[in-house]
């Protein structure tokens, strides 16, 4: 699907190892050998899904350049982001933007909310005068279905989480980015208005050609907005491909369990069978010592080879799966 030189972003074998412990140093691979790419020509919403500790947020922070990879590369339009000149880096930061989980913590409680809109306008010299700046801010608010007169001049505590998150999306809109890294952007937003934010993301993609990296634990919202998914488990991608096919017919035993456990709002289709949680679970550090598959302890289909050898991603049908079953 991706053509070598036409990639907006290309992630090659990305690995991030954190060291932990005071006297006994231990290494934890938060992200291990992750590769994917997004085309520059066709905007796309790509989901990285996983549970807590899967490395999805670390991947997001690596792409935003907030932390440096231990090995592997992130290429933006063919250029390694850690080898960019100051000017290129500035451009990158303008074109690759972020929206995070907690809208409340992104605002300074002592500043009026427009501060988050006026600052980038000033920094990137998007407006000539103060009036222009306010007009631009109002326009940005329009794009997220907020009315300028209701929002401008208010303080963060006067607005709801959903409104604040939309203001942050409006800020991103100002900069006309190419890629938005959205890390759990709706998980703190009430269910009845969550869908509005997802619709704004879809609109940005369709009308403005913005691509998204949607980081989430929630496959229901992911299926709603994206076409392709990478599912991570303890630092590794275990299955990736078209999201609809994966949701309908998951191949990796972990992904099967995951999809089977999503609560379904239809009481006629309740979970079938009990999930037995492990009696004792290895913590992350211990899992690190595992030579074989990291899912071995919880896997209902484990085999002898799974203990010895870590499975590599293989092409199975229209997707990639890391499991010895295939």
């Amino acid at each position: 699907m991706s053509i070598g030189d036409a990639n907006l972003i290309e992630v090659q074998n990305l690995t991030k190892i954190f060291s932990t412990g005071f006297i006994m140093k231990r290494n934890i691979a938060a992200v291990e050998g992750v590769s994917f790419s997004l085309s520059e020509k066709v905007p796309e919403i790509l989901t990285i899904a996983g549970e807590s500790g899967s490395g999805k947020s670390t991947t997001a922070r690596l792409i935003l350049g907030l932390i440096k990879p231990t090995s592997g590369k992130i290429l933006y339009k063919g250029k390694d982001i850690w080898k960019m000149s100051a000017k290129e880096w500035n451009q990158y930061r303008r074109e690759v933007n972020a929206v995070f989980q907690d809208p409340y913590s992104a605002f300074n409680p002592f500043h009026k909310v427009e501060h988050v809109l006026l600052t980038p306008i000033r920094k990137f010299r998007l407006a000539e005068s103060k009036e222009d700046a306010y007009e631009l801010a109002s326009k940005a608010l329009d794009s997220v279905n907020l009315r300028g007169e209701e929002i401008l001049g208010r303080y963060p505590h006067e607005l709801s989480g959903g409104q604040l998150q939309r203001i942050l999306l409006a800020r991103v809109f100002l900069l006309k980015p190419k890629l938005i890294v959205a890390d759990e952007p709706v998980s703190m937003i009430d269910a009845s208005i969550r869908i509005n934010l997802l619709n704004i993301m879809l609109k940005y993609k369709e009308n403005l050609g913005v691509s998204f990296l949607y980081i989430t634990h929630d496959l229901s919202t992911a299926t709603y907005i994206s076409s392709r998914v990478l599912i991570m488990y303890l630092g590794n991608v275990v299955e990736s491909g078209p999201i609809d096919d994966i949701v309908q017919n998951p191949l990796h035993p972990y992904v099967q369990q995951l999809i089977d456990s999503i609560p379904n709002p239809d009481p006629e289709k309740r979970w079938k069978g009990y999930i037995k949680l492990p009696e004792v679970e290895h913590n992350l550090v211990e899992t690190e010592r595992v030579k074989g598959c990291k899912f071995y302890d919880r896997c209902p289909k484990r085999m002898e080879i799974c203990k010895k050898e870590r499975p590599k991603l293989k092409q199975v049908e229209n997707r990639l799966v890391a499991c010895h079953l295939y």
Binding site: G162, I195, N196, Q257, L258, I259, P267, V280, E281
Partner: protein, 321 residues
């Protein structure tokens, strides 16, 4: 007919902000929980569901005050029993699993010691160590943990394991009612399913009841028998979970249900516009009218709708008169 184990009547809770400003977080709430039933309370942030759960157990702290109401549990009004008796009822008859309680385990104490402490405070005094240890292990096994977990410290446990320890503690005395507030919120979906199925199993084995508070209506759909939907401090609809999800009657319930994406059927969805009201100055009449698509001027903004029976359902909406 199943008999009711908990009956809450006209419960009203205020948070006092200043000497002349307060907000009504729970307003005139009435509901009944039957034996062997999972009663779900669903609502969004700020709807009053946690305040309601705490008020029922009389665990509210200032500035929250119960203004009026009646909570009948086993023939006594929990809002009036003396503190000592109430302390006995809590843990032994009713257990409460508060939000993010798994982070409330003492990091310096072994699991065994934390469980023993609760047992000693409630009538296990003078019981030999062996008996207590055996009970601790029995409880851990009942929630699917290895007996060795009793010798571990909280930091050695995963989130799912900690939450199971909390459930084991909540079931020490086989209570007849468990009130669980967002018991799976920070957990992964697979672990979430395991925990909810465990709670259901415990309920079936002990023939007890559960009040399950969560914002996630899909979770209620998986495990609850009945559900009460809260909006801005009021219950707007109560009914059998199957009926409510199949045919929601209150416009807010309708909006809530129609805004959940399902991974298996893709279709365009639309959420609610607007925001919940400021409870310091709630709108007159129906609290949902500013966001309601069936709003009737002169009625909804003037007259407050009360819960009324529509078939097997209770709904507070002027559409049904």
């Amino acid at each position: 007919m199943a008999e009711n184990i908990l009956s809450v009547k006209d419960l009203t809770v205020d948070y006092v902000l200043t000497s002349n400003d307060s907000l009504r977080a729970v307003d005139n709430v009435t509901f009944e929980v039957n034996t062997e039933e999972i009663f779900g309370i669903v609502g969004e942030s700020g709807s009053g569901k946690t305040t309601l759960a705490k008020a029922v157990l009389r665990l509210l702290e200032p500035p929250g005050y119960i203004r009026s109401g009646y909570v009948n549990f086993g023939g006594v009004n929990l809002l009036e029993v003396p503190e000592e008796k109430l302390n006995k009822i809590r843990w032994e008859k009713i257990s409460y699993i508060p939000q993010s309680s798994m982070n409330a385990l003492n990091p310096l104490m072994k699991i065994k010691d934390q469980m023993t402490e609760v047992m000693k405070m409630h009538g296990f005094k003078g019981v030999s160590k062996e008996v207590i240890n055996r009970r601790v292990e029995e409880l851990l096994v009942s929630v699917g943990l290895a007996p060795e977990v009793s010798e571990m410290y909280p930091h050695e446990l995963s989130g799912g394991m900690k939450q199971r320890v909390i459930i084991a503690m909540a079931t020490i005395f086989n209570p007849t009612l468990i009130v669980a507030d967002e018991p799976t919120t920070a957990l992964d979906v697979v672990v979430q399913r395991g925990i909810l199925q465990l709670l259901t199993k415990i309920k079936n084995e002990h023939k007890s009841s559960i009040v399950l508070v969560t914002h996630d209506i899909a979770i209620q759909a998986e495990v609850a028998d009945k559900v009460a939907v809260m909006y801005a401090g009021k219950i707007v609809e109560i009914g059998d979970i199957r009926d409510v999800l199949k045919e929601p009657l209150h416009p807010y319930t309708q909006a809530l249900i129609s805004s959940i994406p399902s991974p298996l059927e893709k279709k365009a969805l639309y959420g609610l516009s607007g925001v919940p009201p400021d409870l310091r100055r709630p709108p007159s009449g129906c609290r949902f009218y500013p966001r309601c698509k069936y709003f009737k001027s002169g009625l909804c903004d003037k007259v407050e709708p009360h819960l009324q029976k529509i078939g097997d359902r209770l709904v507070a909406c002027h559409l049904y008169r």
